[in-house]
Structures are given as C-alpha cells and as structure tokens.
C-alpha cells in the first residue's frame, strides 16, 4: 500500500495508519521485544563507605599473605633440610615382606601382563610371537630369557619346531635384579612350565654380568643363545618359604 501524504494541519492524526493493527502486528512478530524495557543511562548513586572499608580490609589481608614469603625470588622457601616425617603410633610402618616364591610369582605376573602378554599372550601360547609355554628356550636355562630381556632378540629362531622371524625389543633393559628374577620365575613356572628353581639375586646379577660382557652389540640371535641353553647357574637357590623384602629382595631373618 502506498504511503499517504500526511495532512500538515493534523500532524498527529495520520488516519492512514491503523494504530491498533500496527501494534497487533508488532506484538505478533515481536511480542517479547515489544514489552521489553529500555536500558537506562547508568546510575550514579553514592556507594556506601563500608564497601571501601571492606575492600581495604581484604587488601590488607591479601598483602599480609603475599609478604608471608621470606624470599620472594627463591626456589627453596619450603625446603626443610634434614626433615624426617614424624612416626605414627606404634613405630615405623612394617616392612612389606613375603615368601620368595609368592613374591616372585606376584611381581612376575604383574610385569608379564603389563609388558609381555600383548605379544606372547596371557596364556603364554604366543598371540603374534613365539610361544613361551613348553619352549626349551624358556625352561632349559635362566641365561636365555635373561639375555633376551636385557638385549632383545633378532633374526630367525625355531621354537617348538616352528621357525619365526621378528624383533623383540630389550623389554627388561632397565629391570632391577629382583624384577628380572621375578619374571624369569614367572615364565618358567606358568603356562604348564614347571622349572621350580628360585634364583637368588646374586645368581641373576652374575647372569647380567655375563650379558654385559657380550662380544657383540645389539639384539641376541638364536645362534648366540644356542650354547647358553646348556649353561646353568652355580650356587644355592633360595629355599622355598624364605621370607624376603618385597621391595628390595633382601632376605629377612625370622626373629
């Protein structure tokens, strides 16, 4: 519809606009916007003096916290030299300990499921790698598994009559003697293997010494490991039931 000229004599009475209709149209399409209040100019009411007092108190507390530090640019504000934690009632906490075969088995199982089971399978039958169950490489001598753990394995190897190639990294390169002893005990006495020998940490240390003195560098090969199958450790094994410290592997004498 065309815009009608406004009658200059009656500027406030523009009859062409139906006010009710206009308002109804706006209320329909913008009902929420049409009832909105305008944002006013900002107020300038006086702020209570208590607010400033409260602010000052907060600032003073904050400042006192900041200057609690004795040396703002030091790194050792909290270092207490020679600090020893207070002992609880009833003396120091007991040393974690247990019979050696249980300690080895538990620790070995934990390490195996974390680092080995992914390739060799939870049941030792070898998911994607040579099996450990019934393998002469595992059960004949502790030297072979210890060497492989420390150095890794490369090239072709025949396990239970089946040749396989692949590379095993030096999974146990950073294992402690206790960890090496535990995992060897675990794989030699699980999945149907029954070797039953409880190697002492001294024996494991001797094997590791031999491993470090190898003439070749890098991963072991089947040819290198073949003679080790016949090599046995010297000295006495742990007797079953010997109580050892779970963390260090030291023998704990019965009191």
């Amino acid at each position: 519809m065309s815009v009608q000229p406004i009658d200059p004599k009656k500027p406030d009475l523009e009859e062409s606009t139906n006010v009710a209709q206009q308002h109804a149209a706006v209320s329909r399409s913008a009902s929420a916007a049409s009832r909105e209040q305008q944002l006013r100019e900002n107020g300038l009411e006086p702020v209570s003096v208590w607010l400033f007092i409260a602010g000052s108190i907060i600032a003073i507390i904050a400042g006192s916290v900041l200057f609690k530090s004795n040396n703002l640019f030091g790194y050792d504000e909290f270092v207490k030299s020679g600090y020893i934690q207070a002992e609880g009632e009833g003396g120091p906490p007991p040393v974690p300990q247990g019979p050696v075969e249980q300690v080895y088995m538990a620790k070995g199982k934990e390490l195996y499921s974390g680092s080995c089971a992914g390739c060799h399978g939870a049941d030792g039958n070898g998911a994607s790698c040579p099996p450990l169950a019934g393998s002469s490489w595992v059960v004949d001598s502790p030297y072979v598994p210890a060497f492989i753990l420390k150095n890794g394995l490369g090239g072709e190897i025949i396990v239970k009559g089946k040749a396989s190639t692949g590379t095993m990294p030096a999974v146990g390169g950073s294992y402690s003697d206790l960890e090496t002893a535990s995992i060897i005990y675990y794989i030699q006495n699980s999945f149907g293997n029954e070797v039953g020998k409880l190697y002492t940490l001294e024996q494991i240390a001797a094997i590791n010494e031999a491993s470090e003195g190898r003439s070749v560098v890098g991963a072991c090969t089947a040819a290198e490991l073949e003679p080790l199958k016949k090599k046995q450790v010297t000295g006495d094994f742990f007797a079953a039931g010997t109580v050892i410290n779970k963390k260090t592997g030291e023998i704990i004498e019965a009191e």
Partner: protein
Amino acid sequence: MSTETNSPYLEDTQLRADIDRSLRHPVMFFFTSGAAWLAVSLVLGILFSAKVHSPGFLDGCSFLNTGVLYQAHLSTMIYGWGAQAAFGVIIWLMSRLSRQECKASGLILTAGHVWNACIAIGTIRILMGEGSGVAWMYFPKFIWPVLLAIYFFIGIWAVIAFRVRRGGHIYISQWYLMATLFWFPWVFISGHLFAIGYLGEGHEMMATAASAWYRSALMFLFFTPVAIASAYYIAPKVTGRPVYSYNLALFGFWALAIVGPWTGFQRLMGAPIPSFMQFLSAGAAILMLIPAIAVAINILKTASAKKDAMAHSPSLRFTVAGVVGLLVFAALGALMSVPGVMKYTQFSTAQYGLEITGLLGFFSMCMYGAIYFIVPRITNREWISVGLIRQHFWLTVYGVLFIAIFYTLGGGFLHGEILENVNESQDSAYTRLFPYAVSLTTGFIFILIATFFFCCHLLLMWLRLGRRSSHPTLLVRHAHGSPHGPEGDLDKLENLDSNLSTH
C-alpha cells in the same frame, strides 16, 4: 496503509526483533547442545562420584575407571556446556547492545557444529583412555588447535558487531564481552602451549604451573566476565532501573582485569617454582573478593529495587542466584588461599568442590538467567511451563548448596585433616569421608534432574512448540486479572485484528 511507521518505539522494537531473528539458529543451537552436554557431563560426574565412594561400582566395564570418567566429566562441562553457553550469550548480547543484525549466522552455526563434533571426538577419545591428564585440558592434543580456530570463526563476529555498533555509548556488558573476546584466546593459547604444547616439553614444573594458572584464568577471565556481562544486562533490563552505580561498575571491571590474571599458582604452594608466584597468586585470589563484591552489590542493589520482579521473572531470579553464587565462589576461593587454611585444602577434595561451585553455582546460574531471557525472543514463543522453570531453579540451588556446603567445606576440610594425620588408618578415613563423598553424588543427581527438565524445555522451544502469547512466562501462581485477557493469547489478538480490518 503504510508498512513503515513513524513511531520510534515501533521502529526500535522492530530492530530488536530483527536482531533476534538473525541470530535464532546459532544461538538456539549453542544453548540446546550446551544443555545436552551438561546433562552428559552430569551423568559422567555421577558415575565418577559413585566410584569414589563405592569402588566396586561398574567393575564390569574396566574402561570406565575413575580417572577417565573424571576427565570426560570436566571436559564436557567446560567445553561442551560452559563454552557453548558463553558463545551463545556473547554473540546475542553483543549484537543487541551494538544494535546490529548478525550477517553470518550460517557461518556461526556451522562453526558450532564443528565445535560439537570436536567435543564428541575428544570425549570419546578420553573414554578410550587417551586423555592428556592435564587439568582442564583433558582432550587429546590434536583437538585444541581446532577448537581455537573455531573460536575465531565465532568470536570475530562479535568483535565486528562491536566495531560497527550504532550509538556512541558503550554499555557495561560490552566492556566485559570485549575483554573476554580477547582474554579467551590469550588464556587458551598460552595455557595449552605451555602445559601440553611444545613449549612445555622438557619443562615439567613450568607445564604444571601453566596448567594451574590455566584453570583459574579460564574461570576468572572467560566464564566470570561472560556471566557478569549477562547479569549487568538482565538486572536493569528486567527491572527497568538504571544500574545502581556506574563508578562501581567501572571499578569492578578494572579490579577483575588487574587481579584476575595473577591467580592460580597458589595451588602449587610448596612446589619448586619461585616463591613470589605462589604467594602473589594467593594474595590475588583473596583480592578477587573485591571485584566480586563490587559486581554483586551493584547488581543486587539494581535488582532489589523491584522485589516483585525478582520473585516473578525467571531470568532475574536465576541471575540473582548466580550473583550470590559469585560471592560464595569468591569467598571460598579467598578462604582456601590463606596459608593456614591451605594446609587443609590444598590437596583435598575442596579444590574440585570449589571448581564445581564456581561453574554450576555462579557461571551456569547466570547463563540460565540469560537463556530464559533470550530464548523467548529468538523463537518468538514463550516458555511453556512455569513448573519446569521452578523445578529447574530449586533443584539446581539444592544441588549446588549440597556440593558447596557438604562436599567442599565439610568434606574438603575433613579430607585435609585426615591427610595431615599420619595415624589415621585407611578404614577409618574411608568411613569418615564416606558421607561427604555421597553428598557429591546427591548434589549431582539433584542438578541432573534439574538439567533434564531444562533440556526438555529448551528442546520444545527449539522445535517452536512454545506458547504463542504476548505474556511472558512468569513464576507466579496465575489467575489474577490482566488488562490483556487471561493469557494474552495471540490468536485472540488476531481476531481483534481481523475485526478491525473489516471496518
């Protein structure tokens, strides 16, 4: 008959309605998907919390362990709900205050979809055990640069709207929004670069410090300014009163801008970083009470001038609750930064309780207030049910109170005391902390029910099933007469319209 009108009032209304209409799709999308993420986050939070007090719960699915659930719960709350609610409020408020229609709603909507896809991928990766484990930056590393890029696509339009604004006066909310539009990328980039990006590699202490700073910077420099901007808009708008004191608002803004960035390192009290970082942050966290009090007094004074509006308007009621939440949040934060108190709270559950109090009790409350105001305008429909709004309000308040009082204060301090006591046995510690751990689950369940109501309500509004009425949905027991008829029904207005045109 003219379609143009000479009335400045009608013209102004038309402009506001046009701005609302131009932003309908992106803003509605941010709010609705944000609320859905909040519900997801609360479900994950309940599972996490239940595993804390009942460790055998959900033993069957080993991938849902406590750490994974906790990371997924906080990530979805911060980036799924918090950031999206903030984006919706930022773009709407900025367009309204700058009096400019949004020209890029399609682009913003697309960016919103990509943001949601990123959150979904990140959350699934966290549940698969690939979370980064760095506080508040739990998503796998490849997510954050994408989120940042999307932010620029969303945020740039608010900056542009501000640049081409009509009218010279810059309103208080616009200060906060402009500030946070620049603070957010600063905090987000530096936090991620130093904590999980290449700048932090090999500098473990620095990465830890950056992560501690990021948590508090994101809270104080992103969530807080957005919530305050919304409160400064809603309170005068609904009451029709001017903001109580302009000078106090100016003071509150600059206090936040100056103090906010310094907080955060107090969480590392005792760590081998220079002492001034920890003590300065502790001092700054106490000083944060000052901007909080300034803002709270200003808004409460503005709102309390009209007590009936506070009782009846859902927007104002949520906003006022949020501002009270700000006071509680700042006071708890200050309390936990006093070294004598920190002894008990630094390593206890109080820290997590404080974060939840801030996110749900303060920020979310203010966002709900804004959403209850904005949605009827952009959909041109009124909220359907007073009951749903009322339930949403009270259940959220109960839940937050549970978490703030029982979990944060009671449980947090008891936990700290138990940690200090060498002789406390594991069993007695478990027995003593058990009820407080349960209080977190209870609080989350309250809030989850509230969020479910809220989500359904929002979804119905999104489907344009809201009431068509000229009367807002107010929290009053109805039936007293109104000059526009009982419900202000628009169909009756239309009848009136047609009757008039026949004459």
